[in-house]
Symmetry: C2
Amino acid sequence: MEMQYKERSYGGEGRRRRTDLVLRFLAMALTLSAAVILGLNQQSTTVTLTIVPSLPPVNLPVTAKWLHMSAMVYFVIANAIVCSYTAVSLILMLATKGGNKNVSLMITILDLVMVALLFSAIGATGAVGLIGYKGNSHVHWEKVCNVFDKFCHRVAAAMVLSFIGSMAYLLLIVLATFNTYTKF
Amino acid sequence: MEMQYKERSYGGEGRRRRTDLVLRFLAMALTLSAAVILGLNQQSTTVTLTIVPSLPPVNLPVTAKWLHMSAMVYFVIANAIVCSYTAVSLILMLATKGGNKNVSLMITILDLVMVALLFSAIGATGAVGLIGYKGNSHVHWEKVCNVFDKFCHRVAAAMVLSFIGSMAYLLLIVLATFNTYTKF
């Protein structure tokens, strides 16, 4: 009976470890994709401007880059940090086989910091992206997504990927918390 | 010897519970203050505009409100949700005296959701606030904090309060994790 319980307990522990590794790998892939998609995002186009009504309109070349907006720079850096940390945590998890209590505790606390970092970056890019998409008449900030459509679509794609990555991180902490709570 | 250990253990548990309650109360007060400061934030002023060079400049009345910016609406709602949840969690913690395992687990998971909510709101308001303070020449979004100085100072104050509140939440989860890890 005790043997059976122990086997079941070890089986549960192994399943939890596999889920942890899969979620971590998923988070790494997603944050890497988000950082690369936004980091390579650039769109050049031309806008037609009428400067003097009596003269024909002028075509002006314009370029949108992630580097032009602080929130997007923060997004790329935050996702790159989370991706690098996830790679290190994966190596640590595999090296210690999840058996070292201090390493597990440190990883859970750092996972939490990553959640904070990712959500603040998603919030920042989301807020700026919304103004880019809809504009804000109160402060006369004109929308830009009607000109830079491809650029905006890629920002949205990077945000969705990063959001799924951050949900994977939330699940990782819930899993760790659930595991430790059910142990005592 | 065993008695001594038990006493020490209960003493540590009591101290942990008091720290938890203090942090929770602090987070509630800070998020409430942040929501109220930004929710009551409004500034009316006049700007001088020269429409036709041959005519004298015109004074135009302008008003800044938190309702004018989606990121700030999100910030007020997020802080109000976190404040309300913290009040409920405080009541639950006092009612169960921290002894119910399922309630503690549920509270830790919801604390985590609050961290995500708060950090996304701080990121969103921070990104919009930075554009308001510095402007963005690439997309021709002019800075507005030179006109609405008091409004911007209050946004910054609300952000600092909310950030300290979210750090209290981070500490709460670290404390809960540390506590459960050291128990097995």
